[in-house]
């Protein structure tokens, strides 16, 4: 059996008395490319927030490589090997594209406390950053100010920043949100290619069914405060409950 990289055990979370989800459990296998779908407000982002330490669960455990990480501070979880890109683009807007990625590489190198040598002289960091920018097709914009890039480019930069942390588990929250259909397709292919070349475990949240079913090995449906169904794209699209609860209203 494949190694389990992440185990969600009996996780519950509510905000001001409203329960987002109740007692959910699932397991993510190492190296898997999976997706989470669910209607707006189902708690998909909240799930990522719980895994990455942004929120503390009311109950339950988040076990990453055998260690319970629920409630640990975000920066420590990053150090353990989980990185994320955000639904709403989350970059360093006044820095250049390259500086955004270099900042993450330097953090990964644990050089943040170097007060002496100019970060621009850190050739290893720069090379690594360029390598990642090539991967997300942003290398030719390396010296542009990131905050004024087109939306789609900012989304990919967000992914690049996450990749710069060399994560074992990469969480992508709607990597194609706000993109044109063309751009969506392109970005999905990019995500797929990243997964194939980097051999990391990836989980992404997505609304577009075609995208989800096209590239995921496994799909989990978050609905009605629980994991409604979980399985291969074929299994999910044939699942009565899912069709009724979620797919039905989409069509």
């Amino acid at each position: 059996m494949a190694e389990k990289i992440l185990r969600i055990e009996n996780l519950s979370k509510s905000f001001e008395g409203t329960q987002v989800f109740n007692n959910i459990s699932f397991v993510i296998e190492k190296g898997e490319l999976s997706s989470i779908i669910g209607p707006n407000g189902a708690g998909k982002t909240t799930l990522f927030n719980l895994i990455t330490g942004y929120h503390i669960p009311d109950q339950g455990r988040v076990i990453f490589k055998g260690q319970d990480i629920a409630g640990i501070q975000p920066h420590r979880i990053v150090r353990l090997g989980i990185a994320r890109a955000f639904q709403r683009t989350n970059i360093f807007p006044k820095m250049t594209v390259l500086e955004n990625v270099v900042a993450a590489v330097i953090s990964r190198q644990r050089r943040n406390l170097n007060l002496v040598s100019p970060f621009r002289n850190n050739k290893a960091a720069e090379e690594r950053a360029y390598e990642i920018l090539e991967n997300v097709e942003l290398a030719d914009m390396a010296h542009r100010q990131s905050g004024i890039l087109a939306h789609g480019n900012q989304k990919r930069l967000d992914i690049a920043v996450a990749l710069a942390l060399d994560p074992e588990l990469l969480l992508l929250d709607e990597p194609t949100a706000g993109m044109s259909p063309e751009e969506r397709k392109h970005t999905v292919q990019l995500v797929k290619r990243l997964w194939e070349t980097l051999h990391i475990t990836m989980v992404f949240i997505e609304h577009d069914m075609d995208i989800v079913f096209g590239i995921s090995q496994k799909v989990r449906v978050l609905c009605y405060r629980t994991i409604l169904a979980e399985g291969t794209p074929a299994e999910i699209s044939a699942n009565e409950q899912v069709i009724e609860a979620y797919l039905g209203e989409e069509v």
Partner: protein
């Protein structure tokens, strides 16, 4: 590429400015009492410039608005005063102790303050500095209360010109140190926190810890500035810790430009110059200093929101480096 030629130009400009500043007191000393007064003024400009630069490490680069930076200026000032006057320590070790004492104070105060952000951070820094102000004000036997500590000894060879040169040398060294810090990996980390604190956490940065380190570094440079002013005036007084002293480097950074390294120091010098010119024009005009200052700030905010440096850069079509 252009970045290199730009930095080369900055270096040449810097060397020219420093050389001009080094010659200045010798020129001024030809002008009798007026000249001597201006040597004293320019020395204080250097000191206030250093103080403004120190604040800008947290303000411009760190994005943390502190209303209590005078606390560390004051700790440095009183460290020098107490060591020299009461403990008989000589000037060099006393001046060296000033940034250390200020760093310790900043470590303690900062440890609490970095737990808060935005306005709450600002208010807490103000609260701590006012607390320190009250302690110094009340503790008459130790600090001299509102009399301050007077009669701090001065080495014979440190005439006004030499003391000016000493301050200039310290200013230049500190400037280069701060330049090194803001360009370092640490500096990039601090900038990333300013730009997007949440994202900084998610690239693995312990945000509070780095803000704390930066706060301590800024505090220690402020302490050195305070120590230098004590030695210049040969006294330390509670004004050095007053909240209005905390406002000075904020205003200087606004006027000079907080997104450049030299901006705050230039702003500090310009504001001091304006105030003194006003004073020389007519003593009573100091009364309207607040109005003049208000007008200056209004002009800055309306026409040069990134300060004088930013304004000149735009005039020359250069982008912010």
């Amino acid at each position: 590429m252009t970045e290199n030629t730009l930095s080369k130009r900055n270096w040449i400009a810097g060397v020219i400015v420093v050389m001009a500043l080094a010659v200045l007191p010798f020129v001024l000393s030809k002008f009798g009492r007026t000249g001597e007064y201006w040597i004293w003024v320019t020395t204080e400009m250097l000191i206030n410039g250093l103080f403004a630069l120190s604040l800008n490490l947290i303000l411009g680069y760190g994005g943390m608005v502190s209303f209590g930076h005078a606390a560390f200026f004051g700790v440095g000032a009183y460290t020098v005063a107490l060591l020299m006057k009461k403990a008989g320590v000589s000037m060099v070790p006393a001046l060296a102790a000033a940034p250390v004492a200020a760093a310790i104070a900043a470590a303690v105060i900062g440890w609490f303050c970095v737990r808060l952000i935005g306005l709450y951070f600002a208010i807490l820094t103000l609260a701590f500095s006012q607390l320190l102000y009250m302690v110094v004000f009340q503790w008459y036997t130790f600090t001299g209360g509102d009399d301050g500590i007077h009669g701090i000894p001065r080495l014979a060879f440190l005439d006004p010109v030499n003391y000016y040169l000493l301050c200039l040398a310290i200013f230049v060294v500190c400037f280069l140190l701060m330049r090194m810090i803001v360009n370092s990996s640490f500096g990039l980390t601090i900038r990333s926190i300013r730009e997007n604190m949440e994202r900084a956490k998610f690239i693995g940065v312990n945000v509070r810890r780095f803000q704390w380190y930066n706060f301590i570094i800024a505090g220690s440079f402020a302490g050195l500035a305070g120590g230098l002013l004590t030695e210049l005036n040969r006294f330390a007084q509670t004004e050095f810790l007053h909240w209005s002293k905390s406002a000075e480097p904020i205003l200087a950074s606004l006027v000079g430009g907080m997104f450049s390294l030299a901006g705050p120091a230039i702003g500090a010098a310009v504001l001091m110059f304006l105030k003194i010119v006003l004073q020389q024009f007519h003593q009573a005009l100091v009364e309207i200093w607040a109005i003049v200052l208000g007008l200056v700030l209004l002009v800055v905010v309306l026409f040069a929101p990134d300060g004088m440096i930013g304004f000149f850069q735009r005039m020359h079509g250069k982008s912010d480096a």
